[in-house]
């Protein structure tokens, strides 16, 4: 029992990061039917951009700013204009395949231009432990959790309380009607891509100090976010959040109590069970089929 609390906190911390990535994933799906198989690589890349900025001599805070800006330009604007816009009218599948190719491209580019080795990455949260109810809990986990919760709460507040947030939701739910009532749908879609780029940069900043910066780390991350999004509900932001937290906790508990060899299997089995019995996800709405 003693380390259950540690496991829960660590699980919630990684889960919160998965949730951020999964939210971005569902936002892209909702507004532009993009299943982004490169989402994991999107999380991997900003850390390397920040490292590159630091190699060039920028202090850490400036490197973070540069990394976020670059990922807004590359992973937000560039991704939308160069890949999604020309392919969207061709349907979901070719676009999904193109993002798979993009994932290979990003991975290889990082391997070629940066390094094939894992590099350490400075943490935004100070290291050390803090006592809670007489137990020592890692400060890093708590810091990550706090920042991730802040981001998620901020995003939900933005989507539900501001006018632009409402317009974004309208553009996602029914673009035609939204356009009729004067929502600038195109601009809203661009905004979701920028938000996704910001979220992945944030996730990159939070998760890289834990798992090191490596060109291949995107695969695991992308899959975790993917599973989180489906388990929670593919068409709901709050579903993705719940899914992310759940996957993080389940993953950590499985590593401790099931077996380290099959820890990765537990979220997958959860995924299959959810799809079989509740395909719309825990918090999702059912999607209607059309004839």
């Amino acid at each position: 029992m003693s380390n259950l609390l540690d496991l829960l906190v660590a699980g919630l911390a990684t889960g919160a990061i998965y949730a951020i990535v999964a939210v971005g994933f569902t936002l892209l799906w909702q507004t532009s039917q993009t299943i982004n198989f490169a989402q994991g690589e999107f999380v991997m890349l900003p850390a390397f951009l920040m490292l590159a900025a630091m190699h060039a001599g920028a202090p850490f805070w400036l490197a973070i700013l540069i990394g976020i800006l670059l990922s807004l330009v590359l992973l937000g604007l560039g991704f939308k204009m160069l890949l999604v816009d020309p392919m969207l009218r061709h349907g979901v599948l070719p676009l999904a395949i193109a993002t798979m190719a993009l994932a290979i491209g990003i991975r290889e580019a990082v391997k070629q231009f940066f390094s094939a080795e894992a590099s350490p990455f400075p943490s935004v949260v100070p290291a050390g432990d803090v006592a809670i109810f007489g137990r020592m809990v890692s400060l890093q986990s708590l810091g990550v959790l706090a920042l991730a919760i802040l981001a998620v709460v901020g995003l939900t507040a933005f989507l539900n309380r501001t006018s632009i947030g409402h317009q974004m939701q309208a553009a996602a739910q029914n673009p035609t009607v939204a356009r009729i009532i004067g929502v600038p749908v195109e601009r809203m879609i661009l905004l979701t891509f920028l938000i996704n780029a910001f979220l992945v940069a944030l996730a990159s900043l939070l998760i890289t100090p834990i798992y090191l910066a490596k060109f291949s780390s995107g695969e695991v991350l992308g899959q975790a976010a993917f599973i989180a999004a489906i388990v929670g509900g593919f068409n709901q932001v709050r579903g993705a959040i719940a899914g992310g937290l759940l996957i993080g906790v389940v993953d950590n508990l499985a590593a401790a109590y099931v077996s380290t060899q099959y820890r990765a299997a537990v979220p997958l089995i959860l995924l299959i069970v959810i799809i079989l019995f509740r395909p719309q996800g825990i918090l999702g709405r059912a999607e209607e089929r059309t004839v």
């Binding site: 299943i35 198989f37 890949l83 020309p86 392919m87 061709h90 349907g91 979901v92 599948l93 070719p94 999904a96 395949i97 193109a98 798979m100 190719a101 993009l102 290979i104 491209g105 290889e108 580019a109 391997k111 070629q112 695969e219 899959q223 993917f226 599973i227 489906i230 593919f234 060899q261 099959y262 990765a264 299997a265 997958l268 089995i269 995924l271 299959i272 799809i275 079989l276 395909p279 089929r289 004839v291």
Partner: protein
């Protein structure tokens, strides 16, 4: 006119087949390895093309079925059993698992099925890696023997290449027959409009499962050739990226076109080799090429060809119409 086109097409086919037999005669070991790999991957991609291109079900598990086939072959032939027995086991096993995996396809559609198969793919990889007693885990299985076919030992690269090519030929003929049979038409109906197919009396349940199971079994066949080809297997080649690669082959070649997988596998297996002189950049260039192609033609390479041919045909037809019309007017 039509007969002429048919003969021209037959001649082209014969030429390609002759080329595939004659040209590699003086290839070196590595070239033959790559060509054999192309044949093997084409078989796997054909299976996926049946599932995806004809029946319209997205599967991200084809790599796992190749893995199951490869492990069946590796385990059984290193125990001294013949490859044919392994082939039988692989086909039955993959067919059965594919059938079971198809059940979610009945409940959910499109991307959800992709997710189930994705999960299955990763689960299969975990089993390959962790069940040491069966698969020797990360150490892999080495010294996989190559079979003797009709009294000819295929230990050398050239005979084994012919074995792969022959298998590809047999599978192609079977597939050609299958998609022209009533089953093939039912698969197409399923892809185009499942509800309409159902209302026309097609048992969509059975055909969905069937498309999945047959496609998976072809993955198993490819796997049983893969193991003796490399003569050493470990879990790494059968992870999720093989499934994604196979999916890319089918889409890039042209999903739903008979020759799509041939071209797609050619690009996925041979293009990286041709680009090898660019050293570290070759996979980047490959990725860029795939993205560029899909932006230009989302229905793949054969999609471009199809478009060009359709345009030429309609031009020819309108020219004929113009001739007929002028002749009609001139005749009075």
């Amino acid at each position: 006119m039509k007969a002429l086109r048919k003969y021209r097409r037959l001649a082209l086919g014969a030429l390609v087949i002759a080329g595939l037999i004659v040209v590699p005669l003086n290839f070196n070991r590595y070239g033959l390895f790559i060509l054999s790999q192309w044949a093997v991957m084409t078989i796997a991609a054909m299976g996926l093309n049946l599932t995806l291109g004809y029946a319209g079900q997205v599967s991200l598990a084809q790599g796992a079925f190749v893995g199951i086939g490869a492990y069946a072959a590796a385990i059984m032939t290193t125990q001294g059993m013949p490859l044919m027995a392994a082939l039988g086991v692989a086909v039955v096993l993959c067919f059965a698992i594919g059938w079971l995996l198809g059940y979610p396809a009945l409940r959910v559609q499109h991307h959800y099925l992709a997710f189930v198969t994705l999960a299955f793919s990763t689960l299969a990889f975990l089993v390959f890696r962790n069940e040491d007693w069966l698969t020797k885990g990360i150490y892999g299985i080495s010294n996989i023997p190559r079979p003797t076919v009709f009294g000819v030992a295929t230990n050398r690269p050239l005979p084994f290449y012919y074995l792969c090519l022959g298998s590809l030929g047999l599978v192609s003929v079977a597939m050609w027959w299958l998609i022209r049979s009533p089953w093939g038409r039912a698969f197409l109906a399923l892809r185009e409009n499942p509800i309409r197919a159902l209302s026309l009396g097609i048992d969509t349940r059975r055909y969905t499962l069937m498309a999945f199971a047959i496609g998976s079994a072809l993955g198993g066949i490819a796997g049983t050739l893969y193991a003796p080809l490399t003569q050493y297997i470990d879990p790494v080649p059968f992870n999720l990226s093989l499934s994604l690669d196979l999916l890319m082959m089918v889409i890039v070649g042209g999903a739903g076109f008979f020759f799509g997988p041939f071209l797609g596998a050619m690009i996925a297996v041979l293009l990286p080799e041709w680009l090898r002189f660019t050293e570290g950049y070759y996979l980047m260039l490959y990725a860029a090429a795939v993205i560029g192609l899909l932006i230009y033609s989302p229905s793949g390479i054969l999609g471009i060809l199809d478009r060009v041919l359709a345009e030429r045909r309609s031009k020819a037809a309108s020219a004929l119409r113009a001739v007929a019309k002028s002749g009609f007017e001139a005749a009075p």
